[in-house]
Symmetry: C2
Subunit: 260 residues, 2 copies
């Protein structure tokens, strides 16, 4: 729309008094169709926006650092939103925790520089994936229960191959709309955290759609000696998602931390 | 009913070929109204009996070592049942895990002596209660989230008082139908398991109705310095549930292990 300069001026003035708020969020992803607002289904983004709109009486858009899929959890999701409201960040924090459903908890809220973007300013995202070899009713929502033997050494060999890879197209869902498949992975490591639990820890500047779960699913194929390390290297070289293994199920995946 | 001796004889013969099966069970208590079968509501006992009845085509009664309340979890509940079926214990184990809903997992099934009773042969039951001082969406079903400071030393002093107590009537729900309130407690101890988590560990031969949660609720009143250790001793001496603190909420409580 073409508006007279005076109105645009007014608009810019409004922009100038916008505050930028950064929040750190934990959620149990079980009952969400994911982070990102969608036409149908309950999303974390929508729950938070809805509370903020009630509190500020503004139309608020919350931008997250990681667009976690349905069923994926977060202990350290970071998001930011712009508001003209003068409500203190600490009061917004309290209001969010008071009004959000109990599967979302906001750990902090602080006013940050207007240039800060949870999505674009993030330089590293840390995800962990939990595999349990013991059937557990209590842990079932928070791990992948796998009952066959897994060779940890082979899985860490595959992790080292992942670390030195540059193009991750083989682990990216088709039609994801990105123009390149380059990621800079800093860590891709398995530990045996207890006799029955293994944890995969991965740190990268960016992730492609479905990437962590595709990597975990394919490394598990290595760990159960269903494919070899040579097969694993060929899968990466193929740059074709269909060559890689099945995606590991969402409930084992946690967005742990985002660094800026 | 008076039956001719011959029929009673037949009955005893049936008894003689009964097998006794011991199972160890884990469950997420969130969506149950408790262990014990009730007129209304979903119970762990009924879910297990229903599967066993389908598998054995017999009317099966499962007896548990601990009658956990609504919302209370178990990692090591023990139960037993009698069956005339010749299905191997390992096959019953597999059938149970195949047919039970995913908030119940059977960890083992074995044939035991006919005299074994999960309820009456148990000599020690180990419960743990989890308190978290950090709000957590992921842990919310499995701990009591308490945000005020708690004095661990005072709570362990209260634990020592609990340990040397003999009569626990002050921690027993009214009209619980028991003829005495004597329990033999072997352990009643708090640990700081992480900066934000405290765990109460209690081992006893028996528990009264609502006892662990009433003890935890009252010790928390000591820990927050709402009542003194002297008050705590007077509560015990009063032998009156109304003098003690509120019951701690069920989701922090786990039946960990039963010893025979």
């Amino acid at each position: 729309m073409n508006k007279p300069r005076s109105e645009r001026g007014f608009f810019f003035n409004r922009e100038a008094c916008m505050r930028n708020i950064k929040i750190i969020i934990e959620y149990d992803g079980t009952d969400f169709v994911g982070w990102q607002r969608q036409a149908e289904g309950r999303t974390v983004q929508e729950e938070i926006e809805s509370v903020l709109q009630n509190v500020t009486e503004e139309l608020i858009t919350v931008v997250g650092a990681g667009r976690t899929d349905a069923g994926v959890h977060a202990r350290g999701q970071v998001a930011n939103f712009k508001t003209q409201s003068s409500i203190a960040a600490s009061d917004l924090h309290r209001a969010l925790n008071g009004l959000l459903p109990d599967d979302i908890v906001v750990h902090s809220a602080e006013e940050v520089d207007e240039k800060f973007s949870a999505r674009y300013s993030a330089r590293e995202r840390h995800y962990r994936y939990f595999i349990s070899r013991a059937a557990s009713a209590i842990q079932r929502r928070f791990c992948w229960q796998l009952f066959y033997p897994l060779n940890l050494d082979l899985m860490n060999e595959a992790g080292r191959i992942i670390l030195k890879t540059k193009d991750y197209q083989s682990f990216c869902k088709a039609n994801s709309g990105v123009d390149n498949y380059l990621c800079n992975i800093q860590q891709a490591e398995w530990i045996q955290s207890s006799p029955s639990e293994m944890i995969f820890s991965v740190r990268a500047n960016r992730y492609l759609h479905g990437m962590v779960r595709a990597i975990v699913g394919t490394i598990v194929d290595v760990g159960r000696e269903f494919i070899t390390l040579q097969d694993f290297e060929q899968i990466i070289e193929a740059r074709d998602r269909r060559k890689a293994g099945m995606a590991a199920p969402p409930q084992g995946l946690f967005l742990e931390e985002v660094l800026f």
